[in-house]
């Protein structure tokens, strides 16, 4: 992709992906889901998840799966609020850019 994805946008995308799963989702699946919309390296997402978890936007719990423990990530209330903020910001940002590109904006 020609456009860079800033840290905030990546946070927003991860929050959005996790929020889609009410019961929570796990690292590998999150990575695949994010990668279905955005080219990111697989190694990029762990720090993002870890940071969001520390910021209490995500919470984790372990559940047994196929004879081992799998860590699930779930969005918190704070995370939902943050995601909504990101949604609004993104809407403003992308609308302006789109208008500009499509010639509808007066400069």
């Amino acid at each position: 992709m020609v456009f860079n994805t800033g840290a905030a946008l990546l946070d927003a995308i991860v929050l959005a992906v996790v929020s889609k799963e009410e019961e929570g989702t796990y690292g590998y699946k999150i990575t695949q889901d994010v990668r279905s919309v955005l080219e990111v390296s697989e190694s990029t997402l762990y720090p993002v998840l870890r940071r969001l978890q520390k910021d209490e936007c995500l919470e984790t719990y372990d559940m047994a799966y196929a004879g081992r423990n799998r860590r699930y990530y779930k969005i918190t209330e704070k995370g939902t609020a943050q995601l909504n903020l990101y949604r609004v910001e993104w809407k403003n940002y992308s609308t302006k850019i789109s208008k500009l590109f499509e010639g509808g904006i007066e400069l």
């Binding site: 860079n4 998840l49 870890r50």
Partner: protein, 234 residues
């Protein structure tokens, strides 16, 4: 490299972060391999890149989110990461730091640019500022002229020294050994002087000139500031 080797190396590379963070990261990647399935093992390793890269990204992020924003030296890491452009919404320490640097650089460049401009327009504003600037510019250029002169002298001395030495050696072979040795000796002395000159030249060019330039710039900016204040006062 297989999964076990990958994890082993990652563990080693993460040995300098806290036990908690290390275990968390290792658990995550163990799970990641498990969830990807054995048949994807090679793919995952290829996609993740080297353990070094994975460790670097983890550490860079830990550093980023730690309380101490003071140091920001890993531009390389930033480049390696997939999100190198941090200009969007969040402000973090590293970013501010980088912005600050850029500003400072710009400031310096501005002063230098102004100085160059000053030299060029100095004849034009000569009348206005009473020729003071012209004199200052000439004075400022003087050290450069001196350095240039020393440089030329050193070059000549080198040439003379080498010629004398060569002629002396030549004379040795063509019979007059006494003159020959004398010539070669004088050549050596001249070369020594030239070398000393060269050392002096380098010292001047690297130490004295920048210092003079700094003083000159300071002086000029004080002068300009004062003039501007005066104008503002009027």
């Amino acid at each position: 490299m297989n999964r076990a080797q990958f994890m082993e190396q990652l563990k080693k590379l993460l040995s300098d972060i806290s036990e908690e963070e290390r275990q968390e990261a290792l658990d995550y990647y163990e799970s990641y391999f498990d969830d990807a399935g054995e048949d994807q093992e090679a793919n995952v390793i290829r996609e993740l890149g080297s353990p070094g890269k994975v460790a670097a990204i983890i550490k860079a992020d830990l550093k980023d989110s730690s309380q101490d924003y003071g140091e920001y030296t890993e531009k390389g890491f930033e480049d390696e990461r997939v999100r190198p452009e941090p200009e969007m919404m969040q402000k973090r320490g590293g970013r501010a730091e980088r912005g600050y640097h850029a500003e400072r650089k710009g400031g310096n460049a501005g002063v230098i640019l102004a100085l160059i401009l000053l030299v060029f327009v100095s004849p034009l504003i000569k009348g206005a500022v009473g020729g003071i600037l012209g004199v200052i510019v000439t004075l400022a250029l003087l050290p450069f002229l001196i350095v240039f002169g020393i440089g030329a002298a050193v070059l000549v001395l080198f040439a003379v020294g080498i010629t004398a030495f060569g002629a002396g050696i030549g004379a040795c072979f063509s019979g007059s050994v006494g003159f020959g040795i004398l010539g070669a000796g004088i050549g050596c002395i001249v070369l020594a002087v030239a070398l000393a000159g060269l050392v002096f030249l380098i010292w001047t060019a690297t130490r004295v000139l920048p210092m003079l330039l700094r003083k000159f710039v300071d002086f000029c900016s004080r002068l300009v500031n004062r003039n501007m204040k005066k104008e503002a006062g009027l």
